[in-house]
Subunit: 192 residues, 2 copies
């Protein structure tokens, strides 16, 4: 196995464990064990656990893109439908996981924002990118007359994305769809 | 110092450290050190770290009630103003902490819901109580004609509370008030 392949194996194992147990609650040896890589060889592949964590954020972004592709989000052409397809993709993923784990990136935001400035900056740019995508969907939908709302699309996009994050957190707690249903009803009221 | 006083000292120290660093990322010895209690004496006061964690949830509930009292939430008589006073109290607390830490209970929801069923059940009942409080404010406000919305007040309350949790998470990331501002604009649209 090449160095790159092993690195990917470690990232995949880390992604799995950290998604459920958290970054600080996951030991390097557990990650290596799951990856089938010799104990103690972590630093051959990453400079530090933080270096690994930053690579993990990129890995999660690709993982989420794969999930959204699998769920056909990129095949939806109408902009507002595309935005809701993105959220439906997140929700169906949570449903498949029986409402455990939640958003892997949101979890890191909650856990790591105050503990590591490099993590915070990188997570912030990931969330900003998703918010920009939503803002473009909203802007296009408004121009086409599909939805209506006043003011800045970026502000509306921020509100919608943050509210989905809050709903995902609550779904981890109540273990059902109700937080998503409650949100969807109110987004319909706001946008249509 | 009595056993009860020492227990409270340990809870206060744990609350401080866990609010910033997370439950699993905080060692018992660090808590005892901050509390000024002899290393190794933790199990004299708590049966287990989980037993301590469950007591910590109650401690956080009381801590948040004290913050809301300090900020005058219980002096607000008009129901919708009372609801917004509760959120303003959370926001001003975050502002004082320079947008670090966030909601201590929300953080535990994110971190612990999938790791410990006792935590999940207890956190769920805490969030349900807050949602019930918000639902009563909304119901009274609607009856008095102060606000208007259709459908179940509990569903609207859930949406509002979850969205504040999402906004608090995002505020940890962007380190400013914008997530709260974006939410407030849309709640005004929905309720007035």
């Amino acid at each position: 196995m090449s160095k790159t392949e092993t690195k990917i194996k470690i990232l995949e194992a880390g992604a799995e464990l950290i998604h459920r147990n958290g970054f600080n609650n996951t030991g390097l040896n557990d990650i290596l064990k799951l990856a089938g890589v010799p104990k103690g060889s972590f630093y051959f592949y990453f400079n530090s656990k933080d270096d690994f964590g930053l690579a993990l954020i990129d890995h999660y972004v690709e993982m989420m893109k794969d999930i959204h592709r699998k769920n056909g989000v990129d095949k939806v052409t109408e902009p507002v439908d595309r935005m809701f397809a993105l959220f439906d993709s997140l929700i169906s993923e949570m449903r498949e996981n029986e409402y455990t784990k939640g958003c892997p990136i949101g979890n890191l935001v909650q856990e790591m924002s105050d503990l590591n400035e490099d993590f915070r900056a990188k997570l912030n740019s990931v969330f900003a990118n998703v918010t920009d995508f939503i803002a473009r969907c909203l802007e296009e939908g408004r121009e086409q007359g599909v939805i209506k709302f006043e003011g800045d699309a970026g502000s509306m996009a921020g509100f919608i994305f943050n509210s989905y994050q809050g709903a995902m957190m609550r779904a981890k707690l109540v273990k059902n769809d109700s937080p998503f249903d409650d949100l969807k009803v109110n987004l319909d009221r706001l946008l249509y």
